[in-house]
Symmetry: D2
Subunit: 352 residues, 4 copies
């Protein structure tokens, strides 16, 4: 397959390197409007074709698929043009700058019968897949709450807030693990370094199943933290992405509640058991992700992180942002207006 990478900035080189190592790829074209970036690409990958005008990509019928790694404001325009040109399309996260844009992309791809996939790379990371497996197996019991922290010093973005920059990672993981999107969200943020761009945000999530969640994102933190705690009725799990050796820990801990008996008195028992760090093989998530995109493009299968997955995250981001603008009030997620709406899961059963 001949694949084009559109946008050769921070992330583009990783896409190109992985495409070149993939056996499904026969040729790669790099496109960037910035001549400096193109020159940088030509230097690193001398045998790869580079073009400065994206219309050359659309016009080249040998190109069957594109990977778009440009600023988020351009995702909708480029994605739509790519689909219009009949190409399977992969767009970095977040898939678009608004729910309306994301819905339009989903609809366009479905009508064209083309693969649309979003770069929620964490969903292809071995620990994240392992955690989904653990949750789905029911071994944590009924999920009570999740708490995520994704903070470090820098790097401030000029065009998007810390919410649009960092929260897509946690939102996509939570939706993947829980099979559920929140019904309501709120956000209290602070814009300290740049007057109009939040650099810290405390996000709360309410799910229909009763699960509650918290996500803290910040560009102004003394330490780099990347951890998520998942508390279930039977066990609890901590995912610490900065701990190379003990990335996932499962705590056999819980509280057992006995219904009140004759005396109207309930009893609580605390259980403290083993802690297990499962061995998780090391594979590069980006490699798995790109291969999955190419596979779906070839076979027509629905990607794990399809356009609707991208849409769900954008819906949540938009509601979170709206909460920040409305004095941190709880905001419902936008109702989906596609014909076959993205289903909001009903009450999740324990272990399902």
């Amino acid at each position: 397959m001949h694949v084009a990478v559109i946008g050769y900035g921070y992330w583009g080189p990783n896409l190109v390197r992985n495409l070149l190592e993939n056996r499904k790829v026969t040729a790669v074209t790099i496109c960037d409007v910035n001549p400096d970036q193109l020159e940088r690409a030509a230097k690193r990958f001398p045998h790869v074709r580079t073009v400065g005008d994206v219309d050359q990509v659309w016009a080249d019928s040998s190109i069957e698929a594109t990977l778009i790694a440009t600023p988020v404001t351009t995702h909708h325009g480029l994605g739509k043009a790519s689909l219009a040109a009949g190409k399977h399309t992969f767009i970095e996260k977040p898939i678009a700058a608004s729910t309306a844009e994301a819905e339009d992309l989903v609809r366009t791809a479905e009508q064209a019968g083309l693969t649309l996939m979003v770069g929620h790379t964490f969903e292809y990371s071995p620990p994240v897949m392992k955690i989904r497996e653990i949750i789905q197996s029911g071994s944590l019991g009924q999920i009570y709450y999740v708490s995520a922290v994704r903070v470090n010093l820098g790097i401030h973005q000029k065009d998007v807030s810390v919410v649009w920059d960092l929260a897509p990672h946690d939102l996509s993981m939570l939706f993947y693990w829980l099979n559920e999107v929140p019904t309501q969200v709120s956000m209290l943020g602070g814009a300290f370094v740049q007057p109009t761009v939040s650099d810290v945000a405390f996000i709360n999530l309410q799910f229909e199943s009763g699960i509650v969640g918290s996500i803290q994102v910040s560009w102004l933190s003394p330490s780099k933290l990347r951890h998520i705690t998942i508390v279930g009725s039977k066990k609890m799990l901590v995912y610490d992405d900065t701990n190379a050796v003990e990335r996932v820990k499962i705590y056999d801990r819980g509280v057992e509640f006995k219904e009140p008996t004759s005396f109207g008195e309930y009893t609580l028992t605390y259980r403290t058991g083993d802690i297990v760090t499962p061995h998780i093989p090391a594979t590069e998530p980006l490699q798995t992700e790109i291969d999955h995109f190419l596979e779906c493009a070839l076979t027509g299968a629905t990607p794990r992180t399809d356009g609707r997955s991208g849409l769900r995250v954008v819906q949540a981001l938009e509601a979170i942002e709206r909460s920040g603008e409305n004095g941190s009030r709880m905001e419902r997620l936008a109702v989906n207006d596609t014909e076959d709406p993205v289903p909001v899961r009903v009450r999740r059963k324990a272990g399902s």
Copy 2:
């Protein structure tokens, strides 16, 4: 001074032990309505007088001060009776079960000219005092945000939620450090083990100065965490109360922002400097606290954690709880109806 301890439950023995070791104390009386507790007290402290009826305490004119360590619902009644009996009164945190009750205690004590103090013990802890000193010195610069986590497995209370149980610690420390109470708060909680008592809560705080804050409290956490991050414009500080050796760390980190110049472009520079763990002497906070109460009772000085300090925390707890009942909406703190209202600090200057 002859001092009475009212309530000999979980905390009472610590109060008695500290009183017995204090040179300002000439006699201690222990009062508890539960005969089993009284017997336990008599066994541990054979030379200390025990009484089962609190009226004996009120009636004993040799008792000049009382320390009340009973369930929170009884704080107002016992505190008021103690003040009515002319005794200086120390009440464990939270000082009362509602703003109205707390205000009544403050008013009563002020009218009677008696010392009223609340057991916000952390404010007498060496690392907490050191952090206040650091913030007040201005070395962190302007405070941007604070983020606190106080979670562990258990112990569930039957009468109060996790908010009333754990959040008073963080609220009292934040108010002590920042010289400011929040104007608005919100809370998203979850009641999983007992249907009507929250066991996890995500609390957001908005201060008038622009500071934002987050407090997470939980009785359902795999690990015991007790840490607070304070981010300032110049430096950042982490207080980890579970780390015996490096309890406070000061990170010389920050972002410098240059105003846009001719090209309409601003520049951000990240500064990463040394990390310093200041040496902090080990003294028992409870000992300092009790001595401070006795000193204030003797001299008439205003305690660091006076009744108004207790009131401020109760106002915040009440608003947090109200937010939980009102679908997590932002709630203003109750307006203070005492004649001389607890002042809400106006915009704090950097380094003040």
Copy 3:
């Protein structure tokens, strides 16, 4: 049983407290030559009899057992007198100041048919017992090596070196776990603060089974470290006594070696599996130890840490010290001259 505690210094109060809580004990007598210590004892335990002259203990036929917690140079004299007076005898570690003294105590107790036990308290600690169980089960495979670190800042002893102060803990645990004493030991030490008393020592151990070991002890360390690594052919184990939550970790890691085949080439495979922190119940080792001593005194059973256990540790300490005096050369452990010598285990089979 009426029990006497001889020596009420740093450790004595813990012994007394535990004896008073033990149902096998009917009376406790405290003996110390120092009147200040006796007064301190009388204040803390008003109902306990105190005596200043140890002959009163020997002469009191109602006293069936003694616990000796005095400086190590007095262990032999007091222990021998206690046994001569017909009393079951518990001596704090190390059991004596030399192999000859320890052997004399062992012989005396055996001839008298009395219980002699040494205070190797760690052997009664839940994680240490759990580790023995794991090793004995064979799940670590053949043990390759052990590495122990026991360091902190202070507290310097005036009469004994850091080796006699700290190494008994590690030696007794290793012998308990491995069922084997080293054949040879060496030590490189340094005496920096006091010119004749080592405050740091690097100890190497060679066991007949092929196991090698290292013990580092220091009073001059920036951090308090208490950990032991045990490497086996199948799994590896880390015991970190300063980590309250994850005290023991079992790593399913190892190297598999295939014998050279036709090409004279061997192959190594590395296995990296789960990490497990087994849940270990919290019980006070001293309580278990004292109860075990009383039980053995009552029933005549041989204590887990009998006199021979104390002797083995003293033999090792003596050889280690001799190595330090002889330019760090490898020293054989003293040959045991008791009639029924302490058996030196022959080559241990995996999993035995």
Copy 4:
């Protein structure tokens, strides 16, 4: 300068990449006897010349310098040939397989007036340079002892033991920091996976200044540890190379000793002050090292890690190995037979 890299195995690609980015380099030639490796080189660096016969390197008069990254047994032969061909020569650590070989290289280079440098890369690492600066400033006081641990699971070498593989790092750092080599060393090792190749070693070092040291190296460890503790009379320092954020910590801790006065009693005081993690800039040690080699080759300056530095480490390795063969006895380091012997530092003064 035209530079040749001899040996394109595990490490070779890093050398080539750094040479290509260095402005002092005009051309690079890669030499390897293995055609597969040469092909790999040609694929990664298409514009770089590759040769399969090392005589082509010696014969090419345009090549002014060589970097040798081959197995240690070939270092002497290739190094000597390189110097004979008049080329400045850089050899990976350890510089040779024996003291005699290393001395021969040193002598040859000195007679030819050519630069000979060894790849003790850590001496060009920012934290290691910072630690030398701290020690040399005297702020740690007199150095008492050093304790190093370099352990992980794998990678077993077939030709050299764990001592020759891992200990050169720690030895070169210690010699660089302390300006001193040990007079005697001992080693207790274990060969568990391969019958004749040690995979764990406990090494002790005695320095003439009184400093003692311990180095533990292992290929059979559950965790990767890379830390060195340096204890001085005034402060203590920990270098943990696996901690990306707090790589170096300085503990303001120590013991103060007052000489005995009239009562024959000394007094010890413990000082526990701040802990400081100095900010250390991140630069690639290999880049600094290679640039330093090229600079020395151009100017004739003596490299920080010259041939004599390589010789000192080989002398220590040889003595350590000999100790292992001689039942772990203390071994003196080989006397240096070069005309101008590598000076063994005499008693180091505090803070010097």
